[in-house]
């Protein structure tokens, strides 16, 4: 896979995820809250792509989300970037291939991103709809995001395997050094 392809796929997924969140309502009717797919996506971007993709995802994903929401434009970008770049800075220490690690990081990111967004909204003088029910909504978002994170990893891995050239494993065998044995 060429270097720009992962960025392209991550951004297209973010675009579709934001539209899905605004168009798909059965989950909201069932659980009383909509799951946010951008935090799981930023976890994938931070662990498996470069810093440029992580920042682009935070900016474009946040802008797309805010454009369909009543959020002030730009308020979702910073929380996503903070979550993404924090994970990016520690990615050498994280077992990114482990499903449990992906789930745990998705849980943390999906809990932190909406809390940071709410904090930013309250700091900038907005009055979002908050109450005891918000705790349930945050729980649904956190668990939903955690469950979605390994799915993104599996999906992108499949995409990578489908589109990338398979790397030929080099062996130490060299035919010109082969010792021909005769009788």
């Amino acid at each position: 896979m060429k270097s720009w392809l992962p960025t392209f796929f991550v951004l297209v997924t973010a675009y579709l995820a934001v539209f899905w969140e605004a168009a798909f309502t059965p989950l909201r009717h069932l659980l009383g809250a909509q799951i946010d797919l951008l935090p799981p996506l930023i976890v994938y971007a931070a662990l498996c792509t470069d810093v440029r993709t992580t920042c682009l995802l935070a900016c474009l994903g946040g802008l797309w989300f805010d454009s369909l929401s009543q959020n002030p434009l730009g308020v979702t970008m910073l929380p996503l970037a903070l979550v993404g770049l924090t994970l990016y800075s520690q990615r050498e220490l994280i077992l990114r291939d482990q499903t449990f690690a992906q789930f745990t990081l998705g849980l943390a990111a999906s809990g932190a991103a909406p809390l940071l967004t709410l904090g930013l909204l309250l700091t900038t003088g907005h009055t979002p709809l908050l109450g005891w029910g918000t705790l349930w909504q945050l729980l649904v978002m956190t668990v939903g995001g955690a469950l979605a994170t390994p799915v993104f990893f599996v999906g992108f891995e499949w995409l990578h395997r489908s589109l990338a050239h398979e790397r030929i494993a080099e062996t130490s065998f060299r035919p010109d050094r082969e010792i021909r044995r005769g009788r």
Binding site: Y15, L16, V18, F19, E21, A22, A23, T25, R28, H29, G32, A33, Q34, D36, V51, R52, T54, C55, A58, C59, L63, W64, F65, D66, S67, L68, S69, Q70, N71, P72, L73, G74, V75, M77, L78, A81, L82, L85, Y88, S89, P114, T117, L118, L121, T124, T127, P128, L129, L130, G131, W132, G133, T134, W136, Q137, M141
Partner: protein, 268 residues
Amino acid sequence: MLRRPHYIGLGLVVLLTVVMLTLPSPTKTRLKLGVGSAFVPLFGLDNSTRQAAGHAGDALLPKSELLRELEALRLQNQQLRLAATQAEAVLRENDRLRQLLGWQRQQPWKLKLANVVLREPANWWRTLQIDLGSRDGIRTNMPVLTPEGLVGRINSVGLTRSQVVLLGDPTCKVAAQVDNPAHDLGVIGPGGALESEFVEMSYLSPSAVLKPGQTVKTSGDGGIFPPNIPVGIVVESHPVDYGLSTVARVKLGANLSALEEVWVMLQP
């Protein structure tokens, strides 16, 4: 510890966020609508998919069912035409009496049907998007309703779509009155974060006598919503602020979580 490219990335995002949040309000609205227009191709795709699903459903419906529905609609149409004739006579009489008393003549509502295309992706706001925009004559603050009751008002308008802020959102306050002998006045505001079918009516008089089942409608104060649009019914009430005022819980007439089509009032 963050390495240098991460610092630069974070710095750029922080800068962009600050710039976005400090933009003048009209620029922010225009920019928001511009960014949102990136989803126009998906609106079309979603619409086509829904239409195709609808056609497939229609094709599967048996003819006997269609004929039964047609008969029921014919009957309902006749009843509504009779009711409209009666209402027209009442309206004429009302106009004549208003003229005799020197009162301003009531204008009939001019409504436009809109389809709900998207809902609020964030859990802390209550909005939706409809498929009418400025090219259809939609302007900000126009009331939005269904036959069951008030839904909200237009918050922002694009060329082909508009954002409706629903009742129960912190930014949608409505002056309302209870249909009781005292015509108690109050303000409809947000209810709970999880209860989309309930809102709170606050600033009611401490002496207000409210009973469950009494209807609540718009009072016409505030200049946005015309009077007598039904809002819902009183479920319960209790005094607050050491008895200085009363708060009522109101069940909305319109089911906000299942809206497919709404009416926009063009000339309140």
